[in-house]
Symmetry: C2
Subunit: 216 residues, 2 copies
Protein backbone atom coordinates (compact mmCIF):
# COMPACT_ATOMS: atom_id res chain seq x y z
CA UNK A 1 0.00 0.00 0.00
CA UNK A 2 2.29 2.75 1.24
CA UNK A 3 4.99 3.72 -1.17
CA UNK A 4 7.88 4.40 1.16
CA UNK A 5 7.59 1.11 2.90
CA UNK A 6 10.09 -0.60 0.70
CA UNK A 7 13.05 -1.86 2.65
CA UNK A 8 11.61 -1.99 6.02
CA UNK A 9 15.05 -2.38 7.52
CA UNK A 10 14.66 -5.17 10.01
CA UNK A 11 11.65 -7.08 8.77
CA UNK A 12 13.11 -10.45 9.65
CA UNK A 13 13.53 -9.54 13.29
CA UNK A 14 10.10 -7.94 13.25
CA UNK A 15 8.51 -11.14 12.02
CA UNK A 16 10.20 -13.15 14.72
CA UNK A 17 9.36 -10.65 17.41
CA UNK A 18 5.69 -10.64 16.44
CA UNK A 19 5.62 -14.41 16.22
CA UNK A 20 7.14 -14.78 19.67
CA UNK A 21 4.72 -12.20 20.94
CA UNK A 22 1.88 -14.18 19.43
CA UNK A 23 2.67 -17.48 21.08
CA UNK A 24 2.71 -15.94 24.50
CA UNK A 25 -1.06 -15.83 24.14
CA UNK A 26 -1.85 -18.45 21.52
CA UNK A 27 -0.49 -21.63 20.04
CA UNK A 28 1.82 -21.85 17.12
CA UNK A 29 -0.82 -23.60 15.02
CA UNK A 30 -2.92 -20.47 15.15
CA UNK A 31 -0.12 -18.32 13.84
CA UNK A 32 -0.85 -17.35 10.24
CA UNK A 33 1.19 -15.47 7.68
CA UNK A 34 -1.58 -12.92 7.45
CA UNK A 35 -1.11 -12.09 11.11
CA UNK A 36 2.55 -11.43 10.44
CA UNK A 37 1.99 -9.38 7.31
CA UNK A 38 -0.77 -7.35 8.89
CA UNK A 39 1.26 -6.62 11.98
CA UNK A 40 4.19 -5.42 9.90
CA UNK A 41 2.00 -3.68 7.33
CA UNK A 42 3.58 -5.60 4.49
CA UNK A 43 2.22 -7.85 1.79
CA UNK A 44 1.32 -11.45 2.38
CA UNK A 45 4.34 -12.74 0.57
CA UNK A 46 6.95 -10.42 2.01
CA UNK A 47 7.95 -13.05 4.50
CA UNK A 48 9.33 -15.20 1.72
CA UNK A 49 12.21 -12.77 1.28
CA UNK A 50 13.39 -13.69 4.75
CA UNK A 51 12.23 -17.24 5.30
CA UNK A 52 11.88 -19.97 2.75
CA UNK A 53 8.57 -21.02 4.26
CA UNK A 54 6.35 -20.65 7.27
CA UNK A 55 7.98 -23.74 8.73
CA UNK A 56 11.41 -22.17 8.29
CA UNK A 57 10.32 -19.26 10.46
CA UNK A 58 8.98 -21.61 13.07
CA UNK A 59 12.18 -23.57 13.00
CA UNK A 60 14.07 -20.39 13.70
CA UNK A 61 11.76 -19.80 16.63
CA UNK A 62 12.54 -23.25 17.93
CA UNK A 63 16.27 -22.67 17.83
CA UNK A 64 15.84 -19.40 19.64
CA UNK A 65 13.38 -20.95 22.05
CA UNK A 66 15.79 -23.66 23.08
CA UNK A 67 18.43 -21.03 23.70
CA UNK A 68 16.04 -19.19 25.99
CA UNK A 69 15.13 -22.41 27.72
CA UNK A 70 18.72 -23.37 28.21
CA UNK A 71 19.63 -19.89 29.37
CA UNK A 72 16.98 -20.18 32.06
CA UNK A 73 18.03 -23.61 33.27
CA UNK A 74 21.74 -24.10 32.76
CA UNK A 75 23.03 -21.43 35.14
CA UNK A 76 20.88 -22.84 37.90
CA UNK A 77 21.84 -26.43 37.34
CA UNK A 78 25.56 -25.70 37.48
CA UNK A 79 25.72 -22.86 39.98
CA UNK A 80 28.90 -23.69 41.90
CA UNK A 81 27.79 -21.73 44.93
CA UNK A 82 24.87 -23.98 45.76
CA UNK A 83 24.76 -27.62 46.85
CA UNK A 84 23.69 -30.04 44.16
CA UNK A 85 20.40 -30.99 45.71
CA UNK A 86 19.33 -27.37 45.86
CA UNK A 87 20.35 -26.91 42.25
CA UNK A 88 18.12 -29.83 41.33
CA UNK A 89 15.25 -28.35 43.24
CA UNK A 90 15.60 -24.89 41.75
CA UNK A 91 16.22 -26.11 38.22
CA UNK A 92 13.11 -28.28 38.33
CA UNK A 93 11.13 -25.40 39.66
CA UNK A 94 12.42 -23.17 36.90
CA UNK A 95 11.54 -25.84 34.36
CA UNK A 96 7.91 -25.81 35.44
CA UNK A 97 7.81 -22.06 35.66
CA UNK A 98 9.22 -21.66 32.17
CA UNK A 99 6.51 -23.92 30.82
CA UNK A 100 3.68 -22.22 32.67
CA UNK A 101 4.90 -18.76 31.71
CA UNK A 102 5.51 -19.69 28.08
CA UNK A 103 3.00 -22.45 27.36
CA UNK A 104 2.87 -21.85 23.61
CA UNK A 105 6.64 -21.87 23.34
CA UNK A 106 7.01 -24.91 25.58
CA UNK A 107 4.56 -26.86 23.46
CA UNK A 108 6.40 -25.79 20.35
CA UNK A 109 9.73 -26.91 21.78
CA UNK A 110 8.52 -30.22 23.17
CA UNK A 111 5.69 -31.08 20.85
CA UNK A 112 5.99 -33.74 18.21
CA UNK A 113 5.52 -31.74 15.06
CA UNK A 114 8.99 -30.31 14.73
CA UNK A 115 11.02 -33.10 16.27
CA UNK A 116 13.43 -33.11 13.38
CA UNK A 117 14.51 -29.54 14.12
CA UNK A 118 15.20 -30.33 17.71
CA UNK A 119 17.24 -33.32 16.73
CA UNK A 120 19.44 -31.07 14.66
CA UNK A 121 20.23 -28.85 17.59
CA UNK A 122 19.87 -30.84 20.71
CA UNK A 123 21.81 -34.00 20.93
CA UNK A 124 20.86 -36.16 23.85
CA UNK A 125 24.55 -36.80 24.36
CA UNK A 126 25.58 -33.18 24.61
CA UNK A 127 26.55 -32.62 28.21
CA UNK A 128 26.20 -28.87 28.00
CA UNK A 129 22.49 -28.61 27.44
CA UNK A 130 19.14 -30.15 28.09
CA UNK A 131 18.92 -33.82 28.82
CA UNK A 132 22.67 -34.28 28.61
CA UNK A 133 23.24 -31.62 31.24
CA UNK A 134 20.71 -33.28 33.52
CA UNK A 135 22.37 -36.64 33.07
CA UNK A 136 25.76 -35.13 33.83
CA UNK A 137 24.45 -33.46 36.98
CA UNK A 138 23.03 -36.80 38.09
CA UNK A 139 26.37 -38.47 37.57
CA UNK A 140 27.94 -35.74 39.63
CA UNK A 141 25.46 -36.53 42.36
CA UNK A 142 26.28 -40.21 42.17
CA UNK A 143 29.97 -39.57 42.57
CA UNK A 144 29.43 -37.34 45.56
CA UNK A 145 27.35 -40.02 47.21
CA UNK A 146 24.15 -38.04 47.16
CA UNK A 147 22.41 -40.23 44.61
CA UNK A 148 22.08 -43.94 44.23
CA UNK A 149 24.59 -45.39 41.83
CA UNK A 150 22.26 -46.64 39.16
CA UNK A 151 22.10 -46.06 35.44
CA UNK A 152 22.24 -42.29 35.09
CA UNK A 153 20.41 -42.31 31.77
CA UNK A 154 17.47 -44.09 33.31
CA UNK A 155 17.47 -41.81 36.32
CA UNK A 156 17.52 -38.79 34.05
CA UNK A 157 14.59 -40.19 32.12
CA UNK A 158 12.61 -40.56 35.31
CA UNK A 159 13.30 -36.99 36.35
CA UNK A 160 12.60 -35.54 32.94
CA UNK A 161 9.42 -37.55 32.55
CA UNK A 162 8.06 -36.25 35.81
CA UNK A 163 8.87 -32.65 35.02
CA UNK A 164 7.61 -32.83 31.46
CA UNK A 165 4.46 -34.57 32.57
CA UNK A 166 3.63 -32.10 35.27
CA UNK A 167 4.39 -29.15 33.02
CA UNK A 168 2.28 -30.59 30.22
CA UNK A 169 -0.69 -31.42 32.39
CA UNK A 170 -0.68 -27.91 33.81
CA UNK A 171 -0.34 -25.95 30.58
CA UNK A 172 -2.65 -28.20 28.63
CA UNK A 173 -5.46 -27.58 31.06
CA UNK A 174 -5.67 -30.92 32.80
CA UNK A 175 -5.55 -29.38 36.24
CA UNK A 176 -7.26 -26.34 37.53
CA UNK A 177 -4.13 -25.39 39.41
CA UNK A 178 -3.35 -22.27 37.44
CA UNK A 179 -0.90 -20.41 39.60
CA UNK A 180 -0.50 -22.63 42.60
CA UNK A 181 1.39 -25.45 40.97
CA UNK A 182 4.02 -25.16 43.68
CA UNK A 183 2.38 -27.74 45.88
CA UNK A 184 2.42 -30.32 43.15
CA UNK A 185 5.95 -29.56 42.14
CA UNK A 186 7.17 -29.99 45.66
CA UNK A 187 5.36 -33.28 46.05
CA UNK A 188 6.89 -34.38 42.78
CA UNK A 189 10.35 -33.33 43.85
CA UNK A 190 10.08 -35.13 47.15
CA UNK A 191 8.93 -38.23 45.36
CA UNK A 192 11.83 -38.03 42.95
CA UNK A 193 14.27 -37.57 45.79
CA UNK A 194 12.91 -40.56 47.62
CA UNK A 195 13.44 -42.66 44.55
CA UNK A 196 16.87 -41.43 43.66
CA UNK A 197 18.65 -40.19 46.71
CA UNK A 198 20.94 -42.57 48.49
CA UNK A 199 19.37 -43.65 51.75
CA UNK A 200 22.49 -42.99 53.68
CA UNK A 201 22.05 -39.30 53.29
CA UNK A 202 19.91 -37.42 55.75
CA UNK A 203 18.25 -34.89 53.56
CA UNK A 204 15.63 -32.27 53.39
CA UNK A 205 15.33 -31.01 56.90
CA UNK A 206 19.00 -30.10 57.07
CA UNK A 207 18.98 -28.20 53.82
CA UNK A 208 18.63 -24.45 54.15
CA UNK A 209 16.51 -24.00 51.04
CA UNK A 210 14.10 -26.64 52.17
CA UNK A 211 12.84 -24.78 55.17
CA UNK A 212 9.13 -24.53 55.09
CA UNK A 213 9.03 -26.18 51.73
CA UNK A 214 9.60 -29.83 52.37
CA UNK A 215 7.67 -31.33 55.12
CA UNK A 216 8.43 -34.91 56.00
Amino acid sequence: MKKNDYHHGNLKEEFLRIAFDFITQHDVEQLTLKILSDATDTSRSAIYRHFSSKDALIETMILSGFEQFDAALSPILRDPKKPLIERFYLAGRTYIRFATENPGLYRLLFGKRYVHIREEVISLGDERIGFGALKKAIEEGQQSGLLKKEDSFTQAVVVWSSLHGLASLIIDGFMDVENNWDIHYEALFRSLLAGIVSKKIKLLSTLPFAEGIMKP
Copy 2:
Protein backbone atom coordinates in the same frame (compact mmCIF):
# COMPACT_ATOMS: atom_id res chain seq x y z
CA MET B 1 -19.87 -40.39 -9.42
CA LYS B 2 -21.59 -43.70 -9.19
CA LYS B 3 -25.34 -43.57 -9.28
CA ASN B 4 -26.26 -46.30 -6.89
CA ASP B 5 -24.10 -44.98 -4.13
CA TYR B 6 -26.87 -42.96 -2.62
CA HIS B 7 -27.63 -44.02 0.91
CA HIS B 8 -24.48 -45.74 1.75
CA GLY B 9 -26.11 -47.25 4.78
CA ASN B 10 -23.56 -46.74 7.52
CA LEU B 11 -21.52 -43.83 6.33
CA LYS B 12 -21.21 -42.31 9.77
CA GLU B 13 -19.59 -45.42 11.19
CA GLU B 14 -17.44 -45.69 8.08
CA PHE B 15 -16.12 -42.18 8.58
CA LEU B 16 -15.26 -42.91 12.17
CA ARG B 17 -13.67 -46.23 11.35
CA ILE B 18 -11.49 -44.69 8.67
CA ALA B 19 -10.56 -41.80 10.92
CA PHE B 20 -9.54 -44.15 13.71
CA ASP B 21 -7.64 -46.21 11.23
CA PHE B 22 -5.88 -43.09 10.05
CA ILE B 23 -4.60 -41.95 13.42
CA THR B 24 -2.98 -45.28 14.09
CA GLN B 25 -0.39 -44.17 11.58
CA HIS B 26 -0.66 -40.39 11.52
CA ASP B 27 -1.71 -37.49 13.65
CA VAL B 28 -5.16 -36.04 13.80
CA GLU B 29 -3.96 -32.74 12.31
CA GLN B 30 -3.14 -34.55 9.12
CA LEU B 31 -6.62 -35.97 8.81
CA THR B 32 -8.48 -34.19 6.04
CA LEU B 33 -12.05 -34.42 4.83
CA LYS B 34 -10.75 -35.42 1.42
CA ILE B 35 -9.16 -38.48 2.93
CA LEU B 36 -12.50 -39.47 4.39
CA SER B 37 -14.49 -38.80 1.25
CA ASP B 38 -11.98 -40.59 -0.96
CA ALA B 39 -11.88 -43.61 1.30
CA THR B 40 -15.67 -43.88 1.31
CA ASP B 41 -16.02 -42.94 -2.35
CA THR B 42 -18.37 -40.12 -1.52
CA SER B 43 -18.34 -36.42 -2.21
CA ARG B 44 -16.33 -33.97 -0.17
CA SER B 45 -19.35 -32.62 1.62
CA ALA B 46 -21.11 -35.88 2.38
CA ILE B 47 -19.68 -35.83 5.84
CA TYR B 48 -21.81 -32.83 6.72
CA ARG B 49 -24.90 -35.03 6.67
CA HIS B 50 -23.49 -36.91 9.66
CA PHE B 51 -21.32 -34.40 11.48
CA SER B 52 -21.86 -30.69 11.80
CA SER B 53 -18.18 -30.08 11.19
CA LYS B 54 -14.79 -31.71 11.07
CA ASP B 55 -14.33 -30.85 14.71
CA ALA B 56 -17.59 -32.57 15.56
CA LEU B 57 -16.26 -35.79 14.09
CA ILE B 58 -13.06 -35.43 16.03
CA GLU B 59 -15.01 -34.78 19.19
CA THR B 60 -16.86 -38.02 18.62
CA MET B 61 -13.51 -39.74 18.25
CA ILE B 62 -12.39 -38.30 21.55
CA LEU B 63 -15.42 -39.62 23.38
CA SER B 64 -14.88 -43.04 21.88
CA GLY B 65 -11.17 -42.83 22.54
CA PHE B 66 -11.65 -42.17 26.21
CA GLU B 67 -13.95 -45.15 26.42
CA GLN B 68 -11.26 -47.32 24.87
CA PHE B 69 -8.68 -45.88 27.20
CA ASP B 70 -10.84 -46.45 30.22
CA ALA B 71 -11.74 -49.94 29.08
CA ALA B 72 -8.05 -50.77 28.94
CA LEU B 73 -7.20 -49.36 32.34
CA SER B 74 -10.17 -49.64 34.67
CA PRO B 75 -10.40 -53.44 34.84
CA ILE B 76 -6.75 -53.64 35.76
CA LEU B 77 -6.85 -50.93 38.37
CA ARG B 78 -9.75 -52.55 40.20
CA ASP B 79 -9.11 -56.23 39.66
CA PRO B 80 -10.13 -57.72 43.02
CA LYS B 81 -7.97 -60.78 42.50
CA LYS B 82 -4.69 -58.91 42.59
CA PRO B 83 -2.99 -56.98 45.38
CA LEU B 84 -3.18 -53.23 45.03
CA ILE B 85 0.48 -52.67 44.37
CA GLU B 86 0.41 -55.08 41.50
CA ARG B 87 -2.64 -53.36 40.12
CA PHE B 88 -0.76 -50.08 40.21
CA TYR B 89 2.16 -51.63 38.44
CA LEU B 90 0.09 -53.24 35.72
CA ALA B 91 -2.18 -50.26 35.21
CA GLY B 92 0.78 -47.96 34.78
CA ARG B 93 2.32 -50.36 32.35
CA THR B 94 -0.90 -50.54 30.40
CA TYR B 95 -1.05 -46.75 30.39
CA ILE B 96 2.32 -46.50 28.70
CA ARG B 97 1.53 -49.32 26.33
CA PHE B 98 -1.73 -47.76 25.27
CA ALA B 99 0.09 -44.54 24.45
CA THR B 100 2.88 -46.21 22.52
CA GLU B 101 0.48 -48.41 20.60
CA ASN B 102 -1.92 -45.57 19.85
CA PRO B 103 0.26 -42.47 19.74
CA GLY B 104 -2.05 -40.46 17.53
CA LEU B 105 -5.05 -41.25 19.68
CA TYR B 106 -3.18 -40.59 22.90
CA ARG B 107 -2.08 -37.18 21.66
CA LEU B 108 -5.63 -36.45 20.62
CA LEU B 109 -7.00 -37.40 24.03
CA PHE B 110 -4.38 -35.60 26.09
CA GLY B 111 -3.39 -32.76 23.84
CA LYS B 112 -4.51 -29.25 24.45
CA ARG B 113 -6.56 -28.52 21.38
CA TYR B 114 -9.77 -30.24 22.41
CA VAL B 115 -9.62 -29.75 26.15
CA HIS B 116 -13.17 -28.52 26.22
CA ILE B 117 -14.49 -31.83 24.96
CA ARG B 118 -12.63 -33.76 27.58
CA GLU B 119 -13.96 -31.50 30.26
CA GLU B 120 -17.47 -32.38 29.16
CA VAL B 121 -16.90 -36.08 29.62
CA ILE B 122 -14.21 -36.57 32.15
CA SER B 123 -14.70 -34.92 35.44
CA LEU B 124 -11.65 -35.00 37.65
CA GLY B 125 -13.94 -35.84 40.51
CA ASP B 126 -15.54 -38.87 38.92
CA GLU B 127 -14.26 -41.83 40.87
CA ARG B 128 -15.10 -44.31 38.15
CA ILE B 129 -12.72 -43.16 35.46
CA GLY B 130 -9.38 -41.60 34.76
CA PHE B 131 -7.84 -39.36 37.33
CA GLY B 132 -10.66 -39.90 39.79
CA ALA B 133 -10.20 -43.65 39.67
CA LEU B 134 -6.50 -43.25 40.29
CA LYS B 135 -7.15 -40.99 43.25
CA LYS B 136 -9.61 -43.45 44.67
CA ALA B 137 -7.17 -46.32 44.31
CA ILE B 138 -4.56 -44.28 46.10
CA GLU B 139 -6.95 -43.63 48.94
CA GLU B 140 -7.60 -47.33 49.11
CA GLY B 141 -3.86 -47.86 49.41
CA GLN B 142 -3.64 -45.31 52.18
CA GLN B 143 -6.35 -47.01 54.18
CA SER B 144 -4.73 -50.38 53.84
CA GLY B 145 -1.45 -48.95 55.09
CA LEU B 146 0.39 -49.51 51.86
CA LEU B 147 0.75 -45.84 51.01
CA LYS B 148 1.75 -42.84 53.02
CA LYS B 149 -1.19 -40.91 54.33
CA GLU B 150 -0.73 -37.69 52.48
CA ASP B 151 -3.02 -35.69 50.26
CA SER B 152 -4.33 -38.20 47.75
CA PHE B 153 -4.96 -35.58 45.11
CA THR B 154 -1.36 -34.50 45.21
CA GLN B 155 -0.13 -38.08 45.15
CA ALA B 156 -2.34 -38.81 42.17
CA VAL B 157 -0.93 -35.78 40.38
CA VAL B 158 2.60 -37.05 40.95
CA VAL B 159 1.73 -40.47 39.56
CA TRP B 160 -0.17 -39.15 36.59
CA SER B 161 2.53 -36.60 35.78
CA SER B 162 5.18 -39.27 35.66
CA LEU B 163 3.14 -41.57 33.47
CA HIS B 164 1.98 -38.83 31.13
CA GLY B 165 5.49 -37.45 30.89
CA LEU B 166 7.09 -40.76 30.08
CA ALA B 167 4.39 -41.63 27.57
CA SER B 168 4.67 -38.24 25.88
CA LEU B 169 8.45 -38.28 25.67
CA ILE B 170 8.36 -41.71 24.10
CA ILE B 171 5.66 -41.14 21.51
CA ASP B 172 6.82 -37.64 20.64
CA GLY B 173 10.23 -38.93 19.71
CA PHE B 174 12.33 -37.58 22.54
CA MET B 175 13.90 -40.91 23.25
CA ASP B 176 15.17 -43.48 20.87
CA VAL B 177 13.71 -46.21 23.02
CA GLU B 178 11.07 -47.38 20.58
CA ASN B 179 10.05 -50.75 21.89
CA ASN B 180 12.15 -51.18 24.98
CA TRP B 181 10.48 -48.59 27.15
CA ASP B 182 10.07 -51.25 29.82
CA ILE B 183 13.31 -50.36 31.52
CA HIS B 184 12.29 -46.78 31.90
CA TYR B 185 8.82 -47.61 33.08
CA GLU B 186 10.15 -49.88 35.77
CA ALA B 187 12.62 -47.27 36.96
CA LEU B 188 9.78 -44.80 37.04
CA PHE B 189 7.55 -47.15 38.97
CA ARG B 190 10.19 -47.92 41.53
CA SER B 191 10.81 -44.22 41.96
CA LEU B 192 7.12 -43.59 42.44
CA LEU B 193 6.87 -46.39 44.97
CA ALA B 194 9.81 -45.05 46.93
CA GLY B 195 8.11 -41.70 47.14
CA ILE B 196 4.67 -42.91 48.00
CA VAL B 197 4.84 -46.25 49.74
CA SER B 198 4.81 -46.29 53.49
CA LYS B 199 8.25 -47.17 54.76
CA LYS B 200 6.91 -49.75 57.13
CA ILE B 201 6.02 -52.05 54.30
CA LYS B 202 8.58 -54.44 52.99
CA LEU B 203 7.84 -54.42 49.35
CA LEU B 204 9.01 -55.43 45.97
CA SER B 205 11.08 -58.51 46.57
CA THR B 206 8.24 -60.28 48.30
CA LEU B 207 5.73 -59.59 45.61
CA PRO B 208 5.20 -62.35 43.09
CA PHE B 209 4.82 -60.10 40.10
CA ALA B 210 8.03 -58.29 40.91
CA GLU B 211 10.27 -61.24 40.33
CA GLY B 212 12.97 -60.37 37.93
CA ILE B 213 11.44 -57.03 37.31
CA MET B 214 12.37 -54.95 40.26
CA LYS B 215 15.88 -55.08 41.38
CA PRO B 216 16.77 -53.32 44.62
